[in-house]
């Protein structure tokens, strides 16, 4: 992801600085890229240089699409340990309020506005003595999970851990075509990202039914495409 987005950014910078004769040309680079959906976190390029050394650019891509980002569902506490620094962000347990009525994204929000995790993420939803109802009722193209990570929000090479434990689990996907229903989910749509993933789920008793759900995935641990 990093390489492609970096390249996209450089292309955007160069193309906009060299090929445009519009009034946009007079705008600073930051403003013009912001108009295109890019958010420059640390940009050295407040200049109009046509070519920039790649290692001088550090960017953060703000996806203009309405797809939920990692920030939308992780409650991040950081730094947590000496291992956490700018290059190795950490997260604490992912506390998720499960809506059993089939919300498309039953997630909680990142409440502290902290940085996006980049390298090491651990989501832990272990409640060995508690029950869980995770039921996807009539929906279409929906996604419900306890722990959820989109690798497209991460730098290349992440080390990810997702852990969940409950006692009695009701885990049903009912009349939900083209949907994804999971306990632990890591979405790897961005094929430029590679890494490590550890998913663990333990339960006492489970009811697991997939009914009338054409083209859907129903899985306790899931790593793959959306």
């Amino acid at each position: 992801m990093g390489i492609i987005k970096l390249c996209s950014l450089v292309v955007a910078i160069l193309a906009s600085s060299s090929c445009s004769n519009s009034p946009e040309q007079g705008k600073p680079v930051r403003e013009r890229l912001a108009d295109q959906g890019y958010l420059l976190e640390k940009v050295i390029a407040e200049t109009e240089q046509p070519l920039l050394p790649l290692d001088n650019i550090k960017t953060k891509y703000k996806d203009p699409s309405p797809e939920p980002s990692l920030l939308s569902f992780l409650r991040v506490k950081q730094p947590q340990s000496p291992d956490c620094n700018q290059e190795r962000s950490c997260t604490d347990s992912n506390h998720v309020d499960i809506n059993s009525q089939g919300d498309s994204d039953s997630d909680t929000s990142n409440t502290d506005g902290s940085e996006r995790p980049s390298r090491i993420i651990e989501q832990n939803s272990s409640y060995p003595s508690q029950d869980l109802d995770l039921v996807q009722l009539p929906n279409e193209d929906s996604f419900q999970a306890v722990n959820k990570i989109y690798t497209s929000d991460l730098e290349d090479g992440p080390q990810l851990t997702q852990i969940a434990e409950y006692q009695n689990v009701k885990f049903n996907q009912l009349s939900s075509p083209d949907s994804l229903h999971t306990i632990n989910a890591t979405i790897t749509d961005d094929i430029t990202i590679s890494g490590g993933l550890d998913q663990r789920f333990k339960f006492g008793k489970i009811e697991m039914i997939q009914r009338d759900s054409i083209g859907s995935v129903h899985s306790m641990n899931y790593a793959g495409d959306r």
């Binding site: 993933l197 006492g204 009811e207 306790m220």
Partner: protein, 264 residues
């Protein structure tokens, strides 16, 4: 002119950016049932659906499951039942399932330990066509490769495999299932092991269906590269009516301990 020069400068960069980058993952997935029997149901109009305990589903063009990956299910001292029925078509039900282009090293294990547990596969009446049901399912895209894989079903006391269907065709039921066009040529790199107590296999009213403890279903027809596979089916009670086959009113269907070949 400046624009043209800049675009010329950008061409190599754009080509670099358009290069294909594989997603390559080392994944460990584990699931444990601690206190009760488990029944997993797939039913109704579920065409093209996937239901699994542990599932890896990477892209079929250039993805890689790295060596060191594993999928494990520990059912403890409990029963486990997989059931597909009532209209399900072209769907997959598995305990551990992986789909990728290349599998460089994966261990898939399903285990029930301790007491006299029952493991039941059931593709029941009114099921549709082209479904698969297995404990361990490793599938690649047609051009994909499995370089290292170990599938095992261990220590289950009694296994019942039932395909009692009314009109289903091209259904597959297996303890360990591999679907690919190319395996490693080195002996021992890819293996399927079933080690259990008693097995009962029942197949009735099926057409073009496969029911087997271990199964390799080759992809790609005559273009498949092939490879080397070790299949092992061991039972502790086979000498005392521990293994029974029953096949009734079927058409072009297979019942076996170990199967390797094309889909029927």
């Amino acid at each position: 002119m400046t624009c043209i020069k800049t675009l010329l400068l950008l061409l190599p960069l754009m080509a670099f950016c358009n290069a294909t980058y594989a997603d390559s993952w080392t994944i460990t997935q584990s699931t444990s049932a601690t206190s009760s029997s488990t029944t997993i149901l797939q039913e109704g109009s579920s065409a093209g659906a996937v239901q699994a305990v542990n599932s890896i589903n990477l892209n079929g063009l250039n993805s890689t499951v790295n060596d060191g990956s594993s999928q494990q299910f520990n059912g403890g001292e409990n029963n486990l039942t997989l059931r597909q029925h009532n209209g399900t078509t072209s769907s997959i039900q598995a305990i551990n399932r992986v789909y990728a282009h290349t599998i460089n090293g994966l261990t898939q294990g399903a285990r029930l330990v301790g007491g006299p547990q029952n493991l039941t596969f059931d593709q029941a009446s009114n099921i549709g066509n082209s479904n698969t049901q297995s404990l361990n399912d490793a599938t690649t895209s047609v051009t994909g490769t499995i370089n290292k894989l170990a599938q095992s079903v261990l220590d289950t006391a009694t296994v019942t495999m039932q395909m009692t269907q009314s009109a289903g065709t091209q259904n597959v039921q297996a303890g360990n299932l591999i679907k690919t066009g190319e395996l490693s040529s080195t002996s021992g790199d890819v293996s399927q092991t079933v080690r259990i107590g008693i097995v009962k296999q029942v197949q009735s009213n099926t057409s073009q269906s496969i029911q087997s403890g271990n199964a390799l279903v080759t992809l790609g027809g005559s273009t498949a590269t092939g490879g080397t596979l070790t299949q092992s089916f061991e039972g502790s009670s086979f000498g005392f009516l521990g293994f029974t086959f029953t096949q009734t009113s079927v058409s072009n269907s297979v019942q076996a301990r170990n199967y390797a070949g094309e889909a029927l």
